[in-house]
């Protein structure tokens, strides 16, 4: 216990904090999510280089987009699994982090769109999926909970 480093920030961990007493399941899920996040960044970078440098046919261009999206979806799925199976306290930490992140994205994004000329409508491309994704997930979870209650 003496060597325990509770609360130390670990940038290579999706839990955000490096807890030596983390359960093995959390450690495995954390590692898996971190690897998927790196894979997603790598797929984005490689696809971007291939699209910019190589003169790719349109079909191959879309194939690279689909590939990056597929890796990204796997990343989100592994994160979702990590949060679902997480130790109670870790889950609370994650949820609070997500709430703050979501709030910051929402407020920051709309401030840029509405108040900083010229209107940066590109930000809508980030904000809309974030907002719609959040709403769909919350509504779906609420409906599932309601049907379970019956």
């Amino acid at each position: 216990m003496g060597k325990e480093r509770a609360g130390r920030v670990n940038l290579l961990s999706w839990h955000g904090v490096n807890w030596q007493a983390m359960r093995e399941r959390d450690r495995i899920n954390d590692r898996r999510t971190t690897l998927w996040s790196f894979a997603w960044v790598a797929s984005l970078a490689l696809s971007r280089v291939a699209i910019v440098v190589g003169r790719l046919p349109q079909a191959l261009h879309w194939l690279l987009v689909a590939f990056s999206l597929a890796v990204g979806i796997q990343f989100v799925r592994s994160y979702l699994r990590m949060v679902r199976e997480a130790d109670e306290l870790l889950r609370q930490v994650q949820l609070e982090g997500l709430a703050v992140g979501f709030g910051a994205g929402l407020i920051g994004g709309f401030t840029v769109i509405c108040l900083i000329p010229p209107s940066a409508w590109w930000a809508m491309a980030i904000l809309m999926p974030m907002t719609v994704g959040y709403l769909v997930r919350v509504i779906w979870a609420a409906r599932t909970a309601a049907s379970d209650a019956e």
Binding site: M1, W19, A21, M22, R23, D26, D87, E88
Partner: protein, 72 residues
């Protein structure tokens, strides 16, 4: 929420890590519950109660704020 976790652990000579392993959470979670920074979920409260062989209400109790609200 108040709780008697620390006392019960001491009586049974269990460390936070021991209890954490018995109820399948991290040691930090046990610590956060003991110091009142985290309220356990109902399943976890049941697991803790089972370890100590006591009913939940013998281990966890409302804090002063909840008691004041209930009295209103």
């Amino acid at each position: 929420m108040n709780n008697r976790l620390r006392v019960l652990r001491a009586e049974r000579r269990l460390s936070q890590a021991d209890l954490a392993e018995l109820v399948d959470v991290s040691r930090q979670t046990v610590n956060a519950i003991e110091v009142g920074k985290h309220d356990p979920s109902l399943p976890l409260a049941f697991r803790i109660a089972r370890v100590f062989g006591q009913p939940i209400e013998a281990i966890f109790a409302d804090g002063p704020e909840e008691q004041a609200k209930a009295a209103e």
